[in-house]
Amino acid sequence: MNSVITASSYVLVHTPDMVLHNGTTITTEKIVNPESEYLKELPKHIRSYEDVIAYAPNQTYIGNMTPEELAAMPQPWYDTKVEAKREGKFGEILPQDEFYMLMQICDVFDLLVLEKGFAAATKEKFVKNPAVIPSMVEKIKEGVDLAEIEALVNDEHAEGLYMDGKLVGAVKRAHDVDTNLTAHVMHENLVSKASSVLALIHLIKNSGIDASEIDYVIDCSEEACGDMNQRGGGNFAKAAAEIAGLTGASGEDVRGFCAAPTHAMITAAALVKAGVYKHVAVTAGGCTAKLGMNSKDHVKKGLPALEDCLGGFSVLVSENDGVNPEINLDICGRHTVGTGSSPQAVINSLVAAPLDKVGMKIVDIDKFSPEMQNPDITKPAGAGDVPLANYKMIGALAVTRHEIERADLAAFPEKHGLVGWAPTQGHIPSGVPYIGFCRQDILDGKIKNAMIVGKGSLFLGRMTNLFDGVSFVIQGNSGASAASAMDEAEVKNMIAKAMKQFALSLMEGEEEQ
């Protein structure tokens, strides 16, 4: 029996100071060209929290606007403000100060310190968050003197935490010589863990189930945690589950660059379908390195530095309840080692080949969700409209397969596609941003199915020249729940018992004669 998507959550964290201190475009520039005009200009292009929550793609990410409403707005979107709400149907946009407090809660090795006054003021705000659970509040520590933080940053290689350019905290290194436990790595990993925790607590809130009912968590971010003897040892999933109060869960990390969320969803669906677990949460936090990734072009063109938010998401995959949309594992696409790299071969392996297996056409899928990057960010940087490029390729394949006429190609992206709204956080925009809307659209009868396509740039790890990708289909529930399947099994069992008794009674009768 297919597993179902019970709930999802989508969160953003506004991190303006992290853009300036931790984004790799900026940290690289500081090394190679420290006096550059770009570095001098960038602070003027940083958006306020108010601007970030009034930004249409962000309101779409947390569920206050639908992709259709976003598509109806003329592009570019950065100079238009929409209703600014911190909380949405799927999650929230957390401000930076509260995120530092969340990072402190997620730090179980006393590596993160916050300044006394900052910690006290932020705690007051933080505890009012309805998604925050009591066990998290208990983990909040008192702050320390600013002089102590300054000494850590200046003399002890600690990574500073800033608010409006002012030092308010630091992340210490976790070892004197181990390069995998430096302050930089610990900061990056605590950010990933904390934003994953934020997504998980919203998932619990949205799903309405008891946190202890979740059996397993799969983290699909792009970070690696471990020491010098096991650089990517893991396990972000279980570490985040601990803070989010998932006391009944174990977990694992699934990696595959940006394709990891789709790999993780297929793994979760398979584990639930096989009966190993009833509830599996797929989760990922955000990535500091990619903050301000395209900001050189944004600055050059006079735009705000739009990559100022960390992204996070969680999806709950559960045993079939007879209601929620199902994950159909009979339609799984995969780019194999032998697939080849031409765009036709790639799209064929991910989209057409799995549909052929079950006798479906490309046009039988109502919506495709491939790379959902926000074009506001990518177009000024010369990377084009990535979702649109993907839809054109899927549509072109439908033309070559004679499923649509060439003249209908132009209409394909609008009919079977979506505009992009997700931040360029690598794994975050890859296929999964639509799952929340998809679940609702299927439940509302707006669409009957959707294909989620994840792609990953394996070549960036310099272990292979290969690219990767996987896909799966979400469809309406067939109406048969796990409970009814159990009933059926019970009936079969009862019939078998009755037959056995009947046979025994016949044999006894024969013996008596």
Partner: protein, 43 residues
Amino acid sequence: MSLLEGKKAIVIGDRDGVPGPAIEECIKAAGADVIFSSTECFV
């Protein structure tokens, strides 16, 4: 004779467009000598 015959080529592909190896195969067939090829991810 092809425009690329005997020319040295540097190939930079795009993961969401045409990847490096695909461009490489095409221009090799047109007689170019590929001295560097990579695929980049711009997102």
